[in-house]
């Protein structure tokens, strides 16, 4: 059995998991209007880490004098916070580091040198692992918006097959001109705070964050916050279109069904679904169809994109970490930005903090390349 024994979220809403969770319960959002003259004359909505706050935290963290990018600083902060809560040691040969990201240090490409070795995604992974004196080659998963889920599932499998006893799963992505211009070119960005599953939704907000989760076969490695089990997970592909989701949702549903079957948890016992919920018209519709196909219409569902924006390679991990916290707190987080149902299948979008005793939750994600992922998390009583 594989457990999340500690975790962390570094976002505009706070520098650890409990602070982020409390901010969400208060209805706070990191999404603001930004105007960057070099990018566009038009302002845009995004959840962006304050440079000064990040720098202060970083300088206070004792990370040494080495030159590090903003992306690497975000990762270091989240991993250090997560490791501080567990007796799992980063320098243990039985510990492996796993990085989830889509674009890593892509901001360095602004300076125009494509041969900069830090542009390779392994570079930040290696730097972080080296700082924590980990002796193993870090693994890097780059699988669009499913990366975070895929990295957790990879961690679970590597522990399950005995290759390692612990894994430090870390994920991050930045809001860069590169990514902003690309989503803008797709006309996928909303000019107002996003509205997941709402009838007036018109696109996503970008966000930046880092998240980390230490996985272990040993639940007693957890600190004050209870360990949470990763019961099962599955990935699938639509085999339909590289930039548009499945029309039917059948493939996400398939991943959900496989994850549920493997976990042995019945749909009726799922306390809530943490959906991908980007607030683009097509994504949310596809997800609603998938949940309908899997018979999950009555399960409370949320999307956290209204609080953090879409944090890309961090999203699956960040939302899994907050879902684990929801289980510990017996509280389903509401979906900020949702008012009026706007999908063709009935789903139970959570609009107020919902306090209920629950054992399990389902986390899903979907992304470019037609990929889907589903993870089942459960409480632990050891």
């Amino acid at each position: 059995m594989v457990f999340i024994v500690s975790d962390s979220v570094v976002s505009p809403l706070g520098f650890n998991t409990p602070r982020n969770f409390a901010a969400l319960l208060r209805g706070q959002s990191g999404v603001r209007q930004h105007l960057r003259a070099a990018w566009s004359e038009t302002p845009f909505q995004a959840s962006v880490l304050d440079d000064q706050a990040l720098e202060e935290r970083y300088l206070a963290g004792g990370f040494g004098a080495g030159a590090r990018t903003r992306f690497e600083k975000m990762l270091l902060l989240s991993v250090a916070d997560s490791l501080s809560q567990t007796s799992v040691r980063a320098d243990d040969p039985d510990t492996v580091f796993i990085l989830s990201t889509t674009k890593g240090n892509i901001a360095l490409l602004e300076n125009g040198d494509p041969s900069n070795p830090d542009l390779l995604l392994n570079s930040p992974a290696r730097k972080v692992a080296a700082f924590f004196k980990n002796p193993n080659t870090p693994l890097v998963v780059s699988h669009a918006c499913v990366s975070g889920l895929a990295a957790l599932l990879l961690g679970r499998r590597l522990l399950e097959n005995g290759r390692f006893r612990h894994a430090v799963v870390m994920g991050a992505d930045e809001v860069t001109r590169f990514v902003w211009s690309g989503f803008q070119s797709f006309q996928a960005l909303s000019d107002e705070p996003c509205r997941p599953f709402d009838s007036r939704r018109k696109g996503l907000n970008l966000g930046e964050a880092a998240a980390a989760a230490v996985l272990s076969l040993e639940p007693q490695r957890a600190g004050q916050r209870a360990p949470v089990r990763i019961l099962a997970g599955a990935l699938s592909n639509d085999a339909n279109h590289i930039s548009g989701p499945s029309r039917t949702g059948a493939e996400l549903s398939e991943a959900v069904n496989r994850a549920l079957a493997q976990s042995g948890v019945r749909a009726a016992d799922i306390g809530f679904i943490s959906a991908h919920g980007t607030a683009t018209p097509y994504n949310d519709e596809m997800e609603a169809r998938a949940f309908d196909l899997s018979g999950l219409n009555d399960v409370p569902l949320n999307s956290l994109k209204g609080y953090f924006g879409h944090t890309l390679g961090a999203a699956g991990l960040l939302e899994s970490v907050l879902s684990a916290q929801s289980l510990r707190e017996n509280t389903v987080l509401p979906t900020l930005g949702f008012e009026t149902p706007g999908v063709s299948r009935p789903v139970t979008v959570c609009t107020q903090p919902l306090r209920q005793v629950m054992e399990y939750c389902l986390k899903t994600a979907s992304g470019f390349g037609g990929c889907n992922g589903a993870l089942v998390l459960g409480k632990s009583y050891t």
């Binding site: 889509t102 290759r163 211009s181 699938s236 592909n237 590289i242 390349g369």
Partner: protein, 207 residues
């Protein structure tokens, strides 16, 4: 026990499949080599021309590897996994996209700034709907890839796996794909580290 029934390697302007040279074009640069390979194979798939080089390379390797067989008739679509890795992620196209940002950025180019799109293209072409994951590695880590794909097969997460390495950056490129699954065919070899290494063209230290 699982078996590798097909494999394909594309490097140094030559395409080999199952140990046989399929096509060579020593004179061309990468873009022309890819187009010439496509033409040689006489495939009718206009989407090929919209793909970036990474996807064209992976698409062609899968095409050659699966020539003469229809995967969806052998395995249910949701039971086939695709697990690929490379060194440069999508950096070759990232650079191109970054340059395009001074004008009007194109969504058709931006979508290729993710390495897993090559998996998506292969899945669309061959109607594969199972597990998929893209890893970025400093160099092709055969023991890791072999063990991970082996675990997917042994645990029943997949009945067949397309594994391999598809990397492009500027004029450097290399593709190596293999299909492993429960089915044994004439000429197939056991799916293990030694055989993957041997097919890729290096002798594993442990063999």
């Amino acid at each position: 026990m699982n078996y590798i029934t097909s494999w394909c390697r594309i490097r140094q302007n030559a395409v080999t499949a199952n140990g046989q040279t399929v096509f060579e074009d020593r004179a061309s640069g990468l873009p022309d080599f890819l187009t010439n390979t496509y033409r040689y194979l006489q495939i009718d798939y206009p989407k090929f021309y919209k793909m970036d080089r990474l996807c064209q390379l992976g698409f062609l390797a899968a095409e050659v590897m699966l020539r003469g067989r229809t995967l969806k008739e052998e395995y249910p679509p949701e039971s086939v996994a695709v697990v690929l890795a490379n060194r440069h992620s999508s950096l070759d196209t990232d650079v191109r996209y970054q340059e395009s940002m001074s004008g009007i950025p194109s969504p058709a180019l931006f979508v290729y700034t993710l390495p897993n799109i090559v998996i998506g293209e292969i899945c669309i072409r061959h109607q594969i709907k199972g597990e998929n994951t893209f890893f970025v590695q400093e160099q092709f880590d055969i023991p890791f890839l072999n063990d991970y794909t082996g675990q997917l097969l042994e645990q029943g997460a997949a009945l067949a796996v397309i594994g391999g390495w598809v990397d492009v950056f500027q004029d450097q490129y290399e593709a190596f794909l293999y299909l492993a699954g429960q089915k044994q065919t004439p000429g197939s070899v056991i799916h293990n580290r030694q055989n993957v290494s041997a097919l890729y063209g290096i002798v594993d230290a442990g063999s």
